[in-house]
Assembly symmetry: C2
Homo-oligomer: 321 residues x 2
Amino acid sequence: MDTENRTETLEAQVKAFFDSAPPLHNSHEITQKLNQFIQRNSSSSENGEARRIVCVTSGGTTAPLEQRCVRYVDNFSSGHRGATSTEYFLKAGYAVIFLYRRGSFQPFCRSLPEDPLLECFEPTNDLNIQVRKDYSKAVKSAIVDHHIAVAGGHLLKLPFSTIFEYLQMLQIIGTSTRCIGPRAMFYLAAAVSDYYVPWKDMVEHKIQSGSHLLDVKLVQVPKMLSVLRKDWAPLAFCVSFKLETDSSILLNKANAALERYKMHAVVANELSTRKEQVLVTTGVEKITVRRDNSESANDVEKPLIKLLSERHATYIEDSSR
Amino acid sequence: MDTENRTETLEAQVKAFFDSAPPLHNSHEITQKLNQFIQRNSSSSENGEARRIVCVTSGGTTAPLEQRCVRYVDNFSSGHRGATSTEYFLKAGYAVIFLYRRGSFQPFCRSLPEDPLLECFEPTNDLNIQVRKDYSKAVKSAIVDHHIAVAGGHLLKLPFSTIFEYLQMLQIIGTSTRCIGPRAMFYLAAAVSDYYVPWKDMVEHKIQSGSHLLDVKLVQVPKMLSVLRKDWAPLAFCVSFKLETDSSILLNKANAALERYKMHAVVANELSTRKEQVLVTTGVEKITVRRDNSESANDVEKPLIKLLSERHATYIEDSSR
């Protein structure tokens, strides 16, 4: 297939995807919130410079198998990477649009147990409540830091569940950030479904369990990274992720993604070592980023966000020449 | 197919399922916890009677599509029914084994927002934390009531994610409760996968997304309700659930389940009205249970648990004759 044909095919696939998607609930409200957030953070701050804005996507998307959804195909992703990165982006002075899967990890809460309310608090003798001693520092900083980011207007949280919601919202965010050009970054850490069942092909009711075999046929989700780069936010700095369980094919897949979707950087990570190290490829560079075990806050995201923030700064400078 | 052949087939299916399942993590610890819990609640209490014990299953199970699981098929279920019912079972004097999907609703927490720690608390001026006024009553009673149930030894919580974990744990619970005979109840509110990919048929690594179509072939999960009734806990009082989105087939499906799996009661509910009313069928009776809107705590689970607790009491009496 030559390039022109492939482009036509992609455009048709994208159109089919959005045409078939169920309308996004409260899209008007989301657009309004976004515009306010971008405007607020684009006016000059204390130090005379406008904030850079990053959209961090986080957690896995679902692909429903039924319109009145009982069953769906899901992608495993705790959202730990996205939540942690959001904290470091905020520390680096970014405003963050956190596009996250409902129920996945939230920024500032990753050192807490799964069910923090029931695990971290206990009744007092007079049937009041108090924080358990072991968690007192973690709970306090989670609530305070989160509050400062949200109330300060630097963190906007937008939840999704399905692949339809995710891509519709990414489109809105993309087009909303066009006005700030290269000052926008997309940090696409969400685990997005590769396959889906087009809405119109779905059965309305719950699939009946009569037969011994269930054969589910899914079609490929159009490669929206290309569309984000080309149409939605052509000037933004774009970073995507490649996760594999098989390290032998990882770098090739990351390089292929870089070229195919015209990303500015691809972060390659292997499932079993992803909290220790990642490999950032930019086409000209190939940088292994490791977490620094000599520090107390030793996340691999700390040096990763530092690197990407520097590359983004250079990119903005180059764009203004 | 005649009955004998069907039984043989089921036995073979069950064997194949458990033989192929990945070994349950910490099964020894779970068994120990269970035995202690059952023993503690089986000795006579204050009023001279041993507590009845109910196993409430809650939330949906996942069916992994890959051994190093990135993708899986999931069943929608918030776990609201199971969590709410657990509260009413505890109030009715039962000890509850709460077998729940990780991340699903927890007893005593259903009136709280999705992310209670970040939503219900706020920093004070001196950077300490406090409960937001609107949530003060709900947060306090969630923590206190939950603590009383767990610390009092009447609530044992066991989490699962996959269909393999769920059925392995249900088997352990079933065989562990045999010793209390008819005093055990199974209240099977979890949304269990009807289909799964046998572990040995799964690819080890992440499915590659090269091709335009993904064809996922799943086989039926063996009907374990029959095995629970026949082998694991033959004297226990068993209640299963039937959820459909299509009300026209609901009652027939519920009656079929009652007969096929030899349940003592089947609770039939339709997706859109399930919080308002359910239909309980026992073969001889067909009772519509509606929530009482004149009360303040107006859950449909309140009259439902009352009804089932009464039927269970009668069942215990009949068994001792």
